[in-house]
């Protein structure tokens, strides 16, 4: 006789109860919270993780034409970087720093220019980094312009995503860094690249707290009861939004999110019902069935091919997510600023506005997303305060939180390994 009242199992949606954590070869004990609150650990992350890993800084569409450029502040490097498309159509990256007196050369966030001029003394650089003009050059002493170009940064492109590496000579290539993830997720169709909704937040919490928030759907029913839970959980069939799959791919990882196939806006949700176009479920974005079919056919996407699928969250170590859904894809950049400060950029790729109704749907989509972000940011700032109090030295992770455990496991390897090759093992 058990004191526990057993609920009869649902016959509608059978949740696969294999352990994601065991399958990934991870331990199951509590994990340390020091990586979230220690300034010393943060400095280790800066030197051993962020200055050795390949970091995604954008997509090739941000450089739509030859001579296009964009700049980006990477605070964890204390650097401003310049990414260009040169006349040979190569994507290049440089420190945005003048060779003369160290000023920042470009102060625009993006543009089109073959020549880039530092406004301090008008030193001119070509967008391939060459120094091509020095006013009053004859009064310099033995100046060799060939050796005074912009300082290059290692730059490689995977599937349209631009990655940089802080090491002058990266110990591993981007392909080696991406490992099994890079081959498994190659060839996915990226659609709706026309425009983006961008949501940003600068807040008081460790960067991993917000990365962790997107690594597990267990919190969706409780933290996002109105914004997400109706679409991503079900009171009987999947009450705690258990992932359909969750796997490690080398140092990277993914989980597949459940989507409530019965979801329709509540009868009282007049605006949501008025503006939404929905073909294949999922509240995040309008669906386009032909694009969705090509995406869902890819073996990496929803690998168990569960019919109750809504989205895949992929987490490329250390700080980048590419998330795929039938409505399109979005990316997260979680940029550390200090051990308790983060800059987060969410970019949601959307189609060109096609009609009045479509525009209204996109507005609803953007403001639903911003509300989800608000819920998560508010929550992360609270967790940071909780952890900094010293009340707890560990946190307890369940199986659906496997990605967080894997992240900490990989992070630990990177801060301890003297060689990147060892960190990749």
């Amino acid at each position: 006789m058990s004191a526990v009242i057993e609920q009869p199992a649902s016959t509608k949606h059978v949740i696969d109860e294999r352990s994601f954590t065991h399958a990934a070869g991870l331990a199951t004990g509590p994990v340390s919270v020091e990586p979230y609150r220690s300034p010393e650990f943060f400095e280790l992350e800066r030197e051993r993780v962020f200055k050795r890993a390949w970091l995604c800084v954008g997509r090739v569409e941000q450089l739509p034409q030859v001579n296009g450029y964009f700049t980006k502040d990477i605070e964890i490097w204390k650097a401003s970087v310049l990414v260009t498309r040169d006349k040979h159509d190569r994507v290049r990256a440089f420190h945005n720093v003048c060779s003369h007196r160290g000023n920042l050369v470009v102060n625009q966030s993006c543009g089109v220019a073959e020549r880039l001029v530092c406004r301090y003394h008008n030193w001119q650089y070509r967008n391939d980094g060459e120094l091509i003009g020095v006013p009053d050059q004859k009064h310099f002493f033995d100046l060799d312009k060939k050796t005074c170009g912009l300082t290059p940064i290692s730059c490689e492109v995977w599937e349209g995503f631009i990655f940089l590496n802080h090491q002058r000579q990266p110990e591993v290539s981007l392909a080696e860094f991406l490992g099994p993830f890079g081959s498994r997720y190659a060839g996915i169709p990226y659609f709706n690249l026309d425009e983006t909704i961008v949501i940003q937040a600068d807040f008081k919490a460790n960067w991993k707290l917000i990365a962790d928030a997107f690594a597990e759907p267990y919190h969706v029913p409780s933290l996002h009861p109105a914004t997400l839970a109706p679409g991503f959980a079900h009171p009987e069939e999947n009450r705690y939004a258990r992932p359909l799959s969750a796997m490690a791919h080398g140092i990277h990882r993914h989980f597949s999110a459940y989507g409530n196939p019965h979801y329709v806006p509540a009868p009282t949700s007049k605006v949501e019902a008025l503006v939404y176009v929905q073909d294949t479920g999922g509240v995040l974005g309008g669906d386009d069935s032909s694009n969705a079919a090509a995406l869902t056919a890819h073996p990496a996407i929803n690998p168990t091919k569960d019919p109750c699928w809504s989205a895949d969250v992929t987490w490329i170590f250390p700080n980048f997510n590419i998330d795929y859904s039938t409505g399109g894809f979005w990316t997260h950049e979680f940029w550390p600023v200090a051990h308790d400060r983060t800059h987060w950029t969410l970019k949601i790729y959307i189609p060109k506005t096609m009609s009045i109704r479509h525009r209204l749907q996109l507005e609803h989509y953007a403001c639903r997303w911003a509300e989800v972000v608000l819920e998560d940011v508010t929550n992360c700032e609270r967790i940071q305060r909780g952890l900094e109090s010293g009340a707890k030295d560990t946190m307890i992770l369940q199986d659906a939180e496997m990605l967080i455990r894997h992240s900490l496991h990989v992070l630990d390897k990177w801060v301890k390994a003297d060689r990147v090759a060892d960190a990749l093992r």
């Binding site: 008025l274 506005t353 509300e371 940011v377």
Partner: protein, 119 residues
């Protein structure tokens, strides 16, 4: 009512009172307006705009996106703001997410075209 105070197309006079607060240029401004309004004000706007939404959409559909006459464009901006009011009325039952902090660290720095805005 003077001509200057009639900023919407004829037939939408009952929405006139909502124009100064809700007809805004960017997604982030509309979100801030909703997040800082009282629930009673949000509900009043929601009820008024939802009652006319279908007609207003049909009205706006006469024009090419981004090229509406000013009065129709203002009406369209009220329709855009309707989505934000719906977040409060249909999702939270309060102006913004429960126990969320405001002023917020969150910004919509780029919204959909047109009238999405860019910070």
């Amino acid at each position: 009512m003077t001509a200057a105070s009639l900023s919407l197309p004829p037939g939408y006079e009952e929405l006139e009172a909502f124009v100064p607060y809700w007809a805004l240029d960017s997604n982030d401004q509309r979100r801030a307006a909703r997040s800082t309004a009282t629930m009673a004000d949000i509900q009043r706007f929601y009820d008024a705009i939802v009652a006319r939404a279908e007609q207003a959409i049909v009205h706006c559909e006469q024009f090419t996106l981004g090229q509406m006459p000013p009065a129709s464009e203002r009406l369209f901006k009220l329709l855009l703001a309707m989505n934000h009011a719906a977040i409060a009325v249909e999702m939270h039952g309060e102006p913004r997410a429960h126990e969320s902090t405001w002023p917020s660290a969150v910004r919509i720095t780029q919204g959909p075209w047109p009238h999405g805005g860019r910070i």
